[in-house]
Amino acid sequence: MTRLAPDRLAALLLFAAAAATPLVVRDIFILDSVILILLWGSLSAAWNVAGGYAGQVSLGHAAFFGIGAYAAALMSARYAQSPWLGLAVGVLLSIGAGALIGYLSNRLRGPYFALSTIAFAEVLKIVASRWRGFTAGSEGVPVAFRPGFWTLGLGHVAWLYLILVVALLCYGLQVFLERSRVGYQLAGVREDEDAAEALGIATRRRKVQAVVLSAALTSMCGSLWAQYVGFVDPVHVFSIDLSVRFALNSIIGGMGTALGPFLGSVLITSLETYLRATFSGLKAGFSGIYLIIYGVVLILIVRFAPEGLTGIAGRFRAWRMRAHA
């Protein structure tokens, strides 16, 4: 009988804890927090497919998020159809956008690629803001809450289980990438693209595929987010802050690992929620303090755990081995 590797076990426990939460806790704020942790975790996992596994660090994933959010919101608000249909449309559009970004990833490396993705998301933001006839422009799209599964009008418990399914899907995809041939090839592309090409791996194609998959998953989560929060604002859904968040969770948790994005999301989302809940209500004028703390903590975490939380484990083991040598 094979024992589960510790990180798989940790992931299992994490998801089990999330699943058990509604049975144990009635507090809606906690449910809301768990939903957001799982949602941001899924988005980070989606980002991780391109960023961590294929080495294509994008800072413009909000572009796909926004496409998905608008697709779902407009489908229900403008065409009175099910947001699930919007989700599907969003995924298709994001596959197209992802192919475009994938093409860019074949021409550009490292920080240049990251900057080009930022530019792409910014362009979409302005287009969404000005296209008043279709997207209602800067005024955004309010999403009405209509109870039911097909209209994604769900209670917090139902949302939690739905997002959990999505999280498991994203987690599972990452595990698949780790263990499959495609995943090994991607790892090769990530570590040394020239060497991988020399080995006969179709690096260009693999990179595009990774980005496209990443885009599709991000868009799907964006559609669900739109229905959960109930309002799509172009400045928010295409914002660089969101793009940074998706990447941040993975990097804090451990890029290129399946557990990393979720672990990072647990830490960052909780940290931010906790700091804001505790400190933001202070005397007017001191609310910024919680963000100063957040920024400094970020610097420290990245400095002392550059491989992320999952990397710390590796270092513990190395330390322990040295101590016993």
Partner: protein, 423 residues
């Protein structure tokens, strides 16, 4: 990967969940409501002023015995973006257990916040955002004390057509009007509603194409000014955020842009004290639609209104050292109205609250800002009761100039004339 990894992950999980479990308890004998404002991020300046307005009126309310026999207290939360607004609204409603949430200043935030509040069956009392669709979502416990963007546009065009046009010697349909706006929910909402009324009701001639820009990245208005000089409008309708209004006006003076009037609406941009501080007497002549400013004839209000308006102004003066700014007035006026409702309803039960809201019918001039109250079935306080005023910058002061029955001051520099002639 070792078992330490497991332990570490679990530890992280436990710590963070415990952190989430931290709870703040209020003192008994207090009635808590939630206050949601952007206190960080790009809207922080105005958010802070709204919070100040809330705090000042809360103290006034508590001097009178509070609400429903208890002292009114706030649970304040920061909402820098829509996701945070939704989460914090949920937290206020569930973890903090408030039954009423107020705020949220910005149209970007109020949609998400009110949606989240409604799902928790909590009353949402909006004091500022202008999104016209806010009340059209069929949410029964969502109310707004302030007029929406359509109302802002309505008032602006009313002023231009009825007060300015005759003084230019033109009929409204002979007036040439150009539109410039910052590109956000607020700017777009007000500008589009003004455009519509200007054209459809008065037949004003729109010259040049309407220009939108993002206020956080605008560095140079020269192309816009050059085009405006070519279009030669009589009136420039400019809805601005603050840094852009400051920049635009400086460049307009440098490049000698001549318009007969500039009209803005709202507490940011030309309506912000920062604009006056930045330009001094160069700001002379600019109009901004707002709550009452200096010159306001308190005597024009009803007796109850006079009393409360004087008290409000004194309290703001004491705390900030100056006349109430737009943000103070919107928040303060909205909170006072909440007290009036709670006094009548004697309960925060959503149905009793709603009955009380619908039963209120006070004429304009009854409350802070000279407002009255009459809510529509959709929870929107009506345009006619929420009197708005046109203010003008006159030698460092943003004073009330219209409607004339409400003020001792009169508008000057109509038309604006040369830049160095506006003394």
């Amino acid at each position: 990967m070792t078992r330490r990894h497991l332990a570490f992950a679990l530890a992280v999980l436990v710590i963070t969940l415990t952190a989430l479990a931290a709870v703040t308890y209020g003192q008994s004998g207090e009635y808590k409501i939630g206050v949601l404002e952007p206190l960080t991020g790009p809207l922080a300046g105005e958010g802070k002023r709204h919070l100040e307005g809330f705090e000042i009126v809360r103290d006034m309310i508590n001097e009178r015995g509070g609400v429903m026999g208890k002292k009114l207290a706030f649970v304040v939360a920061d909402a820098p973006d829509p996701t945070a607004a939704a989460t914090e609204a949920t937290r206020l409603a569930t973890r903090e257990g408030v039954k009423i949430i107020t705020g949220t200043f910005s149209s970007r935030l109020c949609g998400a916040a009110s949606e989240a509040a409604s799902r928790q069956n909590v009353i949402y009392w909006e004091t500022s955002c202008v999104d016209p669709r806010f009340n059209k979502r069929g949410l029964k416990s969502v109310y707004r004390t302030e007029i929406d963007a359509t109302g802002f546009g309505w008032y602006n065009v009313e002023f231009i057509a009825k007060h300015l046009a005759p003084r230019f010697g033109k009929k409204p349909n002979e007036l040439k009007i150009a539109f410039l706006s910052e590109d956000s929910s607020y700017g777009q909402g007000v500008t589009e509603s003004a455009r519509q009324r200007a054209k459809q009701e008065f037949g004003m001639q729109e010259v040049g194409s309407v220009e939108y820009y993002k206020f956080d990245t605008i560095n140079d208005f020269t192309p816009v000014i050059v085009k405006l000089k070519q279009a030669q409008p009589d009136v420039l309708h400019h809805i601005a955020h603050t840094n852009d209004s400051i920049l635009f006006w400086r460049q307009a003076k440098e490049q000698n842009l001549q318009v007969k009037a500039l009209v803005h609406a709202g507490a940011t941009g030309y309506g912000s004290p920062d604009f006056g501080k930045a330009h001094g007497n160069d700001a002379n002549g600019v109009f901004a639609l707002l709550e009452p400013g200096p010159g306001f004839r308190v005597e024009a209000l009803k007796p109850d209104g006079q009393k409360i308006e004087k008290e409000f102004r004194d309290a703001v003066q004491k705390r900030t050292g100056s006349y109430p700014a737009g943000g103070h007035q919107l928040a303060g006026g909205g909170l006072w109205l909440l007290k009036v409702v709670l006094d009548r309803a004697r309960s925060d039960d959503p149905d009793k609250f709603r009955d009380a809201v619908m039963s209120l019918d006070l004429p304009a001039g009854s409350m802070i800002n000279g407002w009255g109250v009459k809510f529509s079935a959709e929870g929107q306080n009506s345009n006619e009761r929420v009197q708005h005023y046109m203010l003008q910058w006159q030698n460092g002061e943003l004073g009330t100039v219209w409607p004339e029955e409400f003020t001792t001051k009169r508008a000057k520099w109509i038309p604006l004339g040369a830049w160095d002639q506006r003394k």
